[in-house]
């Protein structure tokens, strides 16, 4: 398949925070509709990579293309302006580990915020869209509630609805279930499963290995800022030749 058919292509991405070299040359291609699980030990750079993909972290070097937007980073390369960055981010939905709902807004206002103030959609249209999305995540009866009245699982489902409201081309999940009580994980995973089934392009940083095995088309194993292994979940989890991948996944098999 040609590189142009890919929805996301990343090459030679480097990022350092002070002396800490977090990403050491990442190359990555993701097709439209593909669900990619990004796994690895903590500190391997997977969250940083995800944040680079929507410019919450600006890479030091490298090239990135998502859809029709293309960015080159490095000495001499001009950083895209704030407008361009905002438009680009509007096209990539992000779900955070700690939800990051806006506590001063109601649930429905949280979902309306993007369409209203990033896309300039009218109030009624945004409201209708938000209602439909709350129904989709099963929280239509919580529309008027404030985020602090919700359980963790409900908060995360609102956060997913908020991101979907922008109709992004790709959804990024940054350990979306890591901060949840165990009994609340499945309600969030089932929403994500449903999205995957609808053909949404998704990149999921997760420690839920059985979920990743089930849902992901492709698994990427990272360690020390590099991609060590990639392929189908079965290939990466069960048949990797790489010792670090083997030892990482053996921990999960025992559990």
């Amino acid at each position: 398949m040609s590189a142009d058919a890919q929805m996301i292509s990343v090459s030679g991405i480097h990022k350092s925070f002070d002396d800490h070299h977090v990403l050491k040359g990442i190359d990555l291609g993701i097709d439209k509709g593909e669900v990619v699980a990004l796994v690895g030990p903590s500190g391997s750079g997977k969250s940083t990579l995800l944040r680079c993909l929507n410019l919450l972290v600006i890479p030091d070097r490298g090239e990135m293309r998502i859809g029709s937007d293309r960015f080159v980073f490095g000495p001499g390369a001009r950083l895209p302006g704030t407008r361009t960055q905002a438009n680009f981010r509007a096209n990539t939905g992000m779900v955070f580990q700690h939800f990051n709902l806006f506590p001063h807004l109601s649930v429905i206002e949280n979902v309306m915020e993007g369409p209203r103030y990033a896309k300039g959609m009218g109030r009624e249209a945004a409201k209708a869209k938000a209602c439909a999305l709350l129904i989709k995540v099963g929280l239509q009866d919580k529309a008027a509630a404030k985020p602090n009245q919700l359980s963790g699982g409900q908060k995360q489902r609102v956060a997913i609805a908020r991101a979907l409201a922008m109709e992004p081309a790709v959804m990024l999940f940054d350990e979306a279930t890591s901060a949840l009580d165990p009994e609340l994980v499945s309600e969030v995973l089932s929403v994500m499963r449903e999205l995957a089934a609808e053909g949404m392009t998704m990149i999921i940083v997760t420690h839920e290995m059985s979920f990743a095995r089930d849902v992901a088309d492709k698994m990427i194993f990272m360690r020390d800022g590099q991609i060590v292994e990639q392929g189908s979940p079965a290939e990466v989890m069960d048949h990797s030749k790489n010792p670090s991948a083997q030892s990482f996944f053996s921990n999960f098999r025992q559990a």
């Binding site: 704030t82 992000m94 990051n100 990033a118």
Partner: protein
């Protein structure tokens, strides 16, 4: 044994009322102007540009670390010599109190803004909001709630600080008190009355600040 006698003060009641009016009007003016200075100072501190951060730091630290009394005297007597602009006592008082208060407001405002979880800005940016929209729609509404109690406390201090302007012969409460003292030779009674006036004005306001603090703790 000193014999307290407050009765001579009664005929100075209008003098005191005038003083109270001047103090309150002065406080109102320096709160408004101080907040403007504070906003500019905080914006400078949080600016992307090093020069603005540096200038606002200089402003804030200079006014926070020098005594207000020194600033008042300096602005009234020294500034006209340096700048060639004659300042009336009241303008000198307003100018230095506003700048002084602004340096404290700036820290409160900056502190309120940086106290908001960075995840809030990230979530706003991730939605595709521009940084200025994120500031206006997401960060400031939350930060403002947190700032209200300390801003109110600072404003209460501002009212007390106005008592220093009597040194420039601005006719505030304290200045009128000094006049009454010179007439009556009853400084103990006069200053007791002055203290009670300050308490009477500020006690309801401190209670209000406490109440707001509790109200705003929600979410």
């Amino acid at each position: 044994m000193y014999i307290w006698d407050f009765s001579p003060l009664w005929k100075y009641r209008f003098l005191f009322l005038e003083g109270i009016w001047v103090s309150i009007a002065l406080t109102a003016a320096v709160i408004v102007l101080g907040l403007i200075c504070g906003l500019l100072g905080a914006a400078g501190q949080l600016s992307r540009f090093r020069i603005l951060r540096w200038l606002s730091w200089l402003y804030i630290e200079f006014f926070r670390t020098t005594p207000l009394l020194v600033q008042l005297v300096w602005v009234y007597y020294a500034l006209p010599i340096l700048s060639g602009v004659e300042l009336s006592a009241i303008s000198a008082a307003v100018l230095s109190l506003s700048l002084y208060g602004g340096s404290f407001y700036a820290e409160v405002i900056r502190g309120g803004i940086v106290s908001i979880d960075p995840g809030q800005s990230e979530a706003g940016l991730a939605l595709g909001l521009t940084p200025s929209r994120v500031m206006r729609r997401i960060v400031l509404p939350q930060a403002f709630k947190r700032m209200i109690p300390p801003l109110m406390n600072q404003s209460i201090l501002m009212f007390k600080n106005t008592s220093l302007v009597s040194i420039l012969a601005v006719p505030d409460i304290l200045y009128q008190a000094q006049r009454a003292t010179m007439d009556t030779y009853r400084p103990l009674e006069v200053y007791t009355a002055v203290a009670l006036i300050y308490v009477a004005i500020l006690l309801p306001l401190t209670a209000l600040a406490k109440f707001m603090e509790r109200r705003l703790k929600e979410y």
